[in-house]
Structure formats: structure tokens, C-alpha cells
């Protein structure tokens, strides 16, 4: 019976295992529930195998997310129909969105989740790493294995695309609410 309980195992348990929830949430956004579990397992298998290469004191969460990104890119990335990218117009800096703050309450979280799932993969990765996991641009660039300028561009375009999608959701929500209101008035 091989005994894994050594110094490295103890360090792994203290350093890497607590990041499980964060890794799972990112994996969950990049795939469905079943594949997310497989992604996370494969990520941690690789992390355990190469844990001796991890530098103590550095950001373990970023290290694990990088492994997750590599696993996802190697095995799980699937061709999907992506929203055509509108080239950004540098001359006109449009505001992100104009609606009232009430649209970002609980009842709109479904719309936000849907909009997030419709984002192109690379934009979604950038949004998840910077906005959710609060990595720096440098750390996000290491995770996605791209230049820092690319990260900045993906974040900017990702947020704008998300805003556009949310605006579509909000308008359909307004239409639904208007229909309901008209129906109730007609019934009265």
C-alpha cells in the first residue's frame, strides 16, 4: 500500500484543495455540470502530479486555473456557434449601458447567466478570471498564455458584448412586463 501522506501531500492539502470551489465555478461556466466535474478532476490530477514544480508563496489559485485552462483547451474545447464579433469603433466610446440599476437585481440573474453563457469562450475566460476570480491582468495573461494586451482587449470586448446581450435581455423583459401589464388592465 503506497503511502501518500508526506510533506508534499500535506502542502497540497493546505494549498491546492481549498481552491477547489473557485476552480469548479470557472469550470462550470465553461461547460455543463458533468463535464465541469471531469474538468476539475483532471485539473487536480495534473496538479498533484506536477505539484513539485509549484513555487511556494505564489498564487496557487492562478496556477490551478492555468492548468484548468490547459485541460479545457486540450480536451474539452468544442466548436460552437459564436456571436460574430463587431469591430470596436475607437472613435466612439459608447457607455456600457443606460438602464436603471433595478435590472441587476435577483430576478435578472437568469438573464445574466444566459448572457454569460453566450459570450465567446475567450471573452468569457477573461471575464471569469478578472471579474470573478479577481486576478491581475498579468496573472490572467499567464493563465490564458497570451500577451497582456490581448487580455485587456478581451476584457474590454467581453464586457461590451455582455452589455449588448444584457440589453437584449432587458428589452425582452420590458416587453414581457408590458404584455403582462396590458393583459391585467384588459381583464380589469
Amino acid at each position: 500500500m503506497r503511502l501518500h501522506w508526506g510533506k508534499q501531500a500535506r502542502r497540497f492539502e493546505l494549498t491546492a484543495v481549498p481552491c477547489l470551489a473557485d476552480v469548479y465555478r470557472v469550470a462550470r461556466q465553461m461547460s455543463d455540470e458533468n463535464r465541469a466535474q471531469d474538468l476539475v478532476q483532471e485539473t487536480y490530477l495534473r496538479a498533484w502530479k506536477y505539484f513539485h514544480t509549484f513555487e511556494q508563496g505564489t498564487n496557487c489559485r492562478a496556477w490551478l486555473l492555468r492548468i484548468l485552462h490547459n485541460v479545457w483547451a486540450d480536451q474539452w474545447r468544442q466548436p460552437r456557434l459564436e456571436i460574430p464579433l463587431i469591430p470596436s469603433d475607437e472613435a466612439s466610446i459608447e457607455p456600457y449601458y443606460d438602464w436603471e440599476d433595478e435590472f441587476l437585481k435577483e430576478e435578472f440573474s437568469q438573464g445574466l447567466a444566459r448572457a454569460l453563457s453566450q459570450l465567446p469562450d475567450m471573452y468569457r475566460w477573461a471575464i471569469l478570471l478578472v471579474d470573478v476570480e479577481e486576478l491581475s491582468y498579468q496573472e490572467a495573461a499567464l493563465v490564458m498564455n497570451c500577451p497582456i494586451g490581448t487580455v485587456m482587449s478581451r476584457i474590454n470586448r467581453g464586457r461590451r458584448t455582455l452589455t449588448r446581450l444584457l440589453r437584449g435581455e432587458a428589452e425582452s423583459l420590458i416587453d414581457d412586463m408590458s404584455c403582462v401589464k396590458r393583459k391585467s388592465q384588459q381583464e380589469e
Binding site: Y24, L45, Y96, S109
Partner: protein, 164 residues
């Protein structure tokens, strides 16, 4: 910093990626510009909403248990206490540490057999175990050797001389 410049670096401002000088210029601009302030607040609101939506998902307990076994085998987890929320059938709770106990038992039995074999090897044949065997000394030639032992050898020597 004017509105155009601020909107160009809005992402960097919200993500705290600007230099201290630029951050300070951005803060100064926001103090005097309501429109840019509103956009900045809405972007922060968007970030927080995305974070809230994503953090609704928690990893399932079975996945947590599987990841735990990478560093800690199940028998050790049982010895140090089960992880909260994990469900383990009673027969697995009993069965998993059995190999460890079996090895311990075999080691104890082996030690006992070795100790017993050492005891029987030092006892001469025909003499019951536990009885000390005293080797007779060579001739003392009249010297009193009682001070070298507890008197047993001297007593035997005296008996031998008496019987001569």
C-alpha cells in the same frame, strides 16, 4: 483627464491596473463628472453581478471527496475524522482500516514468536525454563571468590572442595 480619455481607460481604472498617477487623475475627473461617474458605477455593478451569478454554484460533495483522496488516502481520513458532509456506508467505515489493523496484528504476533524463540534457545535441554544455570568456576586454589558474585559460586566451590 477628460471624458474621452477616462472612458478609454475605464476598464483599467475599475480593475486597478493604472499607475498611481493615472488613478489619481481618474478619481479627480470622477469628482467633477456625473456622467462618467454613473458609467463607472454601472460597470462596477456589472462586475459584482457577474460574480454573484457565478458564485451560486458550489462543488458537489462527491467531487470534494474525490479530490481529497489525491493527497489523503481514505483510511487516514477515517482516522483523523470524516469530512463534514461526506456520506460513507457503514461497511466501508469498518472495512477500510482493516488492512492496516491486519498488518499491525501480524507484526505483534511475529514479535511475540521471536521473543519466545529467544527464551527457549537460552534454556539447556532437560532443565525447566526460568531456572538459572550456573557455570562452575575453575579451581579457586584457596582464594575467596565470594566477593565476585552473590556467593553462589563460592558456595559451589566450597562444596566441591569438601567432597574431595
Amino acid at each position: 483627464m477628460d471624458c474621452k480619455e477616462f472612458r478609454e481607460v475605464l476598464d483599467l481604472y475599475v480593475d486597478r491596473e493604472l499607475s498611481l498617477e493615472s488613478m489619481s487623475a481618474g478619481q479627480s475627473h470622477l469628482k467633477g463628472c456625473a456622467a462618467c461617474g454613473r458609467v463607472e458605477r454601472q460597470l462596477v455593478l456589472l462586475r459584482n453581478s457577474v460574480k454573484r451569478v457565478v458564485n451560486e454554484f458550489d462543488p458537489p460533495a462527491e467531487l470534494t471527496d474525490k479530490i481529497d483522496t489525491f493527497a489523503r488516502p481514505s483510511w487516514l481520513r477515517l482516522l483523523t475524522g470524516l469530512r463534514k458532509g461526506s456520506r460513507l456506508a457503514w461497511h466501508k467505515k469498518v472495512a477500510v482500516p482493516m488492512p492496516a489493523f491486519a498488518m499491525f496484528l501480524i507484526a505483534v504476533l511475529s514479535l511475540g514468536v521471536w521473543v519466545m524463540s529467544r527464551r527457549t534457545a537460552t534454556t539447556p535441554p532437560g532443565r525447566p525454563p526460568g531456572v538459572r544455570t550456573v557455570t562452575p568456576m575453575p579451581e579457586s586454589r584457596g582464594l575467596d571468590l565470594s566477593r565476585f558474585d552473590r556467593g553462589e559460586r563460592a558456595a559451589i566451590e566450597k562444596m566441591r572442595l569438601r567432597n574431595r
